[in-house]
């Protein structure tokens, strides 16, 4: 019926009411009401928590004459009160906006219904004239079109008014929701206190960098050729990025770690004022001895993050701090025994487990060098994703996980809810269709090889596949993959699967956009799909 109104308006030279009516029909006040309802329990929990936290603070004050414990608990209670105030306002304003929007939608629908009803009683002559049919009696045609003009004019006016009320509902949100409910929590401890003092407290990236660079400089003239080569590799990687005007910090340097593989962490960007921090952990076959291309990938991620949020400072740390399986080929020193052990290490998550503890320690140090409000994302690729997952089993100050091309999450992590400080909604998984490492073939191969060579019976050597829907992570939509090779050519198919696994293929296109969005907290820009 509205089509008749729209056509009549067109032919009479009046504004078409359809776009305004459609805009109102598209509004979903019920979704806003649902969101407000979700916030009800949040508001209630904050209110209850602030009450019990004050009780705990009072108890601590009575039982411990030192002021610090009661003050620390009091800060949490005050934070809960502040957050409660903001959340209550968000809920109330959302509720009011939903009601206002629902009223505007209802008004628009009523106006359309009235106009449709009146259009039903229009004499046949009017539409004929409006449609340009020759009039049998000219004067009566003009006078018969007047009721149509009146109805359409009123409809347009009522729809415009309803549209203004709908926009007012949005404007109310923009006017009132200025506070971040987390703002009052800035002073809270972000890391559970350790029994021993954190050695990184009070240490700046500048100081760590200077000490490590001095070690590198000394190693450049070392009598040990391997040590010299590693120092040269690190030095070249640092120089490459510094020559582009980037801030580069050598945050960890230990040439003797892991039997000579070495241990290196390099930060791009200013950690001391970072709004966002990403720690990138690559997988097997990488080595500090060949860190320049990896540092370029870290730079690529930082550029994307900066492009996503130009107002924020993002620091990306390349972390080569664990005993990386199959690194020996690049380390350039390995004897036969070490090389075999290095290959066997690919058959299980043992190195990743140990590496997870080291990564957790280093993340504590890196975040201690940064503002407490920095958004922290751990990005792991392949075996590096297993390391990342294992690190996140510990209560470390991390906001997001991004697991790329992951063969599994390692022991003790069966679902995305198993990370103590990262909510499942902030666990992201990127898995290319056809990436051979994320499929069951790698598990089966590692199981068989592990059983044959090492006598280990473990049907799931890398743990749970995080790309499975049952894991409960956010599965990133990385876009369509290139066409699969012919199924009758297994070699080409295997090559294809391997080519879809490389870290560079994850840090390009949709994967890079998603990574930049996650690192900067623009989660809505990270498109997701249903897990497999």
């Amino acid at each position: 019926m509205l089509r008749i109104l729209s056509d009549a308006a067109l032919l009479l030279g009046l504004p078409d009411p359809a776009p305004r009516a459609d805009a109102l029909t598209a509004a979903r006040p019920e979704a806003i009401s649902e969101l407000a309802a979700v916030l009800g329990p949040v508001e209630e929990a904050l209110s209850d928590a602030s009450g019990t936290a004050w009780t705990a603070a009072d108890t601590a004050r009575r039982c411990w004459s030192a002021a610090t414990p009661a003050e620390a608990i009091g800060r949490v209670a005050a934070g809960a009160v502040a957050a409660h105030g903001v959340v209550a306002q968000v809920r109330q304003v959302a509720t009011a906006a939903a009601e206002m929007l629902a009223a505007a939608v209802a008004d628009g629908a009523a106006a359309v219904a009235r106009a449709e009803s009146e259009a039903a009683s229009w004499p046949p002559l009017v539409p004929l004239v409006a449609l340009g049919a020759p009039a049998m009696d000219g004067p009566s045609t003009v006078s018969s079109s007047e009721p149509v003009r009146v109805v359409l004019g009123r409809l347009n006016s009522e729809l415009a008014a309803a549209g203004v009320r709908a926009d007012d509902a949005g404007a109310m949100i923009l006017d009132w929701l200025t506070d971040d409910p987390r703002a009052g929590l800035d002073q809270l401890p972000r890391v559970p206190p350790s029994p021993s003092p954190d050695p990184a407290n009070g240490i700046s990236a500048d100081g760590v960098d200077a000490a490590n660079r001095a070690d590198v400089a000394a190693d450049l003239s070392s009598g040990d050729p391997h040590r010299r080569a590693l120092a040269a590799s690190v030095s070249a990687a640092l120089a490459g990025h510094r020559s582009r005007g980037e801030r580069v910090d050598l945050l960890a340097y230990d040439p003797d770690a892991f039997g000579g593989q070495g241990r290196v962490a390099i930060g791009l960007g200013d950690l001391s004022r970072a709004d966002n921090i990403a720690v990138l952990t690559p997988g097997i076959g990488n080595s500090p001895m060949a860190c320049a291309p990896l540092l370029d990938l870290a730079g690529r991620l930082r550029e994307q993050a900066t492009s996503t949020d130009p107002t924020a400072e993002t620091a990306v740390v390349l972390w080569l701090g664990y005993d990386i399986p199959m690194s020996a080929g690049r380390d350039g020193y390995a004897d036969v025994h070490t090389a075999y052990a290095d290959v066997y290490a690919t058959l299980s998550s043992a190195n990743a487990e140990a590496g997870g503890a080291l990564l957790a320690d280093d993340v504590r140090k890196f975040t201690a060098m940064a503002p407490p409000s920095a958004l922290v994302t751990l990005v792991g690729h392949s075996m590096g994703s297993v390391v990342t997952s294992q690190a996140a089993r510990q209560p470390i100050p991390v906001d997001n996980l991004l697991l790329l091309g992951s063969p599994g999450t390692g022991p003790g992590v069966r679902t995305a809810d198993d990370y103590p400080t990262v909510p499942a909604g902030h666990v992201f998984v990127g898995s290319h269709d056809g990436d051979v490492v994320t499929g069951p073939a790698v598990d089966i191969g590692a199981f068989l090889a592990g059983a044959w060579y090492l006598g280990r019976i473990n049907p799931s050597p890398f743990g749970t596949d995080p790309a499975r829907a049952a894991f409960g992570a956010q599965d990133l939509d990385l876009g369509p993959s290139p066409a699969l090779p012919s199924p009758v050519d297994p070699i080409a198919e295997a090559r294809y699967g391997v080519s879809r696994h490389g870290l560079p293929t994850y840090l390009e296109g949709s994967g890079l956009v998603a990574a930049g969005a996650i690192v900067t907290g623009r989660y809505r820009n990270a498109r997701t799909r249903k897990g497999r």
Binding site: A26, P41, V42, T52, S65, P69, A83, A94, D167, A169
Partner: protein, 95 residues
């Protein structure tokens, strides 16, 4: 001035904090649904929907942040009570 500590009281405070953490984690499954386009297709509407979603997500995140902090304090109080008890048993340190 001597430090006065009642370790039973500290454990009581830790228990209250543990209950606080439980309270904060109860709505942990709160999921903020998509509000894209809720206010219609106008620029104001889109901006309002974005802001509302962000504030709602931040509200849920605030719960998690508080829960982590409360858990840290619970552990610290419990560890302190244990430490004071050990010191007390050794007849050394604060009573």
């Amino acid at each position: 001035m001597d430090l006065e500590v009642d370790t039973d009281g500290l454990r009581e405070a830790a228990g209250v904090l543990q209950a606080t953490e439980t309270t904060l984690r109860m709505p942990g499954c709160a999921v903020v649904g998509p509000t894209e386009g809720c206010f219609g297709p106008s620029a104001t509407g889109r901006e309002a929907a974005d802001l509302l979603t962000r504030r709602a997500q931040q509200s849920v995140e605030a719960l998690g942040l508080l829960a982590v902090s409360v858990a840290a304090l619970t552990d610290a109080l419990t560890a302190a009570a244990t430490l004071f008890d050990r010191l007390d048993q050794g007849a050394v340190g604060p009573r």
